[in-house]
């Protein structure tokens, strides 16, 4: 398998698929980071306020790393990537677009996202595109903390007061179709797989993800909208069949009303004067 050491090693026909992939990774982190940052000043306790803000800042920092790689490929300035695109040019999954909701919603979404992101990052750590593999190596170390944080809160809400549990259940129910949509095929995914830029298909990742979180849901007696079924005699070879329809479209520029509102807000200053030197 060819290894691509830097942006200029990427053949022309791969540039577009690769930059779309990088934008998906960046936009997921950027938009989630934006919503999480809205807890600054209103989190349940002062300590949690700082922790949550810090995680939001980490996410936006990770987005910046992936945007930088898009800039290296396409030459588009980084601020223009973050703030200067029209709605259909954003590539995040719809899961991260939803309004931050209540605390249970924020935690439920983070749990679904972080557990999925963990596997995605692991699969990208052996990408043939070296800048991605290197970035992911650093980002994964930081995600250790995010995972610890969300694990603690997820357990706490699931085993807390009836209100906490009820809110968590309600949030999960509304988030599941979006969460499954996180594994929508990337544009030109086959090409990215053939060239080793992706090492695992989204379909495979989704299976690995469902298998990884099924025990948590069983232990906490939370509804799990996928049923395991064995297709072969190989022990442990279990397929999870989703019982609900995923909401798709984010990777192809279809976004929710929530994102339109968010976009208006977050690009407001940039759009005043896109040419300004700040």
């Amino acid at each position: 398998m060819t290894v691509f050491v830097e942006a200029k090693d990427v053949p022309t026909n791969l540039k577009q698929p690769l930059s779309n992939l990088l934008l998906s990774l960046a936009d997921d982190e950027f938009i989630l980071g934006y919503w999480d940052s809205e807890w600054t000043g209103v989190a349940p306790t002062l300590e949690e306020d700082v922790a949550c803000s810090s995680i939001a800042q980490d996410e936006i920092g990770h987005a910046r790393i992936f945007y930088q790689e898009v800039t290296a490929l396409t030459g588009t300035p980084i601020d223009q990537l973050a703030y200067g695109r029209e709605l259909p040019d954003y590539r995040q999954a719809q899961l991260v677009e939803r309004h931050r909701g209540d605390w249970a919603f924020t935690i439920a979404r983070q749990f679904l996202y972080e557990t999925a992101d963990l596997l995605r990052m692991e699969s990208l750590s052996t990408s043939s595109y070296q800048p991605v593999a290197q970035a992911v190596a650093k980002i994964r170390r930081e995600e250790v903390y995010h995972m610890m944080h969300v694990d603690i809160w997820f357990e706490r809400l699931a085993q807390g007061t009836p209100t906490a549990r009820q809110r968590l259940e309600r949030a999960l129910e509304s988030l599941w179709p979006d969460a499954l949509g996180l594994f929508e095929q990337f544009p030109d995914e086959d090409m990215l797989l053939q060239n080793g830029i992706l090492t695992t298909s989204n379909a495979q990742l989704q299976q690995a993800w469902l298998a990884s979180i099924a025990p948590d849901f069983a232990r906490l007696h939370l509804a799990f909208p996928a049923s395991p079924s064995s297709h072969s005699d190989v022990p442990g070879d279990v397929q999870y069949l989703p019982l609900i329809t995923p909401r798709l479209g984010g990777r192809y520029g279809q976004h929710t009303q929530d994102f339109r509102v968010l976009w208006e807000q977050m690009t407001m200053v940039y759009r005043l004067d896109p040419q300004a030197s700040w």
């Binding site: 002062l46 300590e47 700082v50 810090s54 920092g61 170390r141 930081e142 250790v144 030197s277």
Partner: protein
């Protein structure tokens, strides 16, 4: 995790409230010989206390090790105050734990300076640990104004370098992280050029 609500030293410092418990945080950087007191955090339990300690005392790569100690596990010894009677000091029968174990001692040499780890006391009964600490208060190098002693087992230690020494460039958290100087220079140049054009 163990429950330290029944202080084995018999005289817990006030800590618990509706808002959670107070945890004292000691921090140590590569250049520090010993952990020193950084401050405290409030948390519902030790698990979240570790998180919050990391946020407040380890987020900017200023620590390579944190010790997080529930205040209820600390006994404070002040050299200025008279000794309370022995019985009072070791609690009633229920909270009293006499098993020999190791203790950590922290001391403050003068007001306004942080408490610093002084020594560990190996395998001794709580009352002996307490006596030794009182002697330490008076005897060592001009003495200490204040000492804290706690069972080693009460210390929640965080040394995970992924959490304390993050791999990513943190320059964006500093004031000049957005290349403000460079951007200002370009902006000034532009303003200057516009002035020259208009004059």
């Amino acid at each position: 995790m163990s429950d330290f609500s029944g202080n084995i030293l018999g005289q817990p410092m006030p800590s618990a409230s509706d808002e959670g418990e107070v945890f004292e945080v000691f921090q140590q950087d590569q250049k520090d010989p010993f952990p020193h007191h950084g401050g405290n955090v409030r948390a519902p339990d030790g698990e979240l206390a570790v998180h919050y300690a990391r946020e407040f005392y380890g987020r900017r790569q200023e620590s390579s090790r944190l010790w997080i100690i529930p205040r209820s596990a600390l006994l404070e010894v002040r050299t200025q105050t008279p000794l309370p009677p022995a019985r009072e000091m070791f609690g009633d029968g229920e909270t009293q734990v006499n098993a020999a174990q190791s203790f950590a001692v922290f001391g403050q040499k003068q007001a306004g300076r942080p408490l610093v780890w002084v020594q560990d006391l190996e395998e001794m009964a709580p009352e002996d640990a307490e006596k030794v600490t009182r002697r330490t208060a008076q005897n060592i190098e001009g003495g200490y104004v204040r000492l804290w002693v706690c069972p080693r087992s009460a210390i929640l230690e965080l040394t995970n370098q992924d959490l304390l020494q993050p791999p990513l460039d943190r320059s964006y958290r500093r004031l000049d992280g957005y290349n403000i100087r460079e951007k200002l220079r370009i902006a000034r140049q532009r303003v200057q050029a516009e002035k020259e054009l208009s004059s």
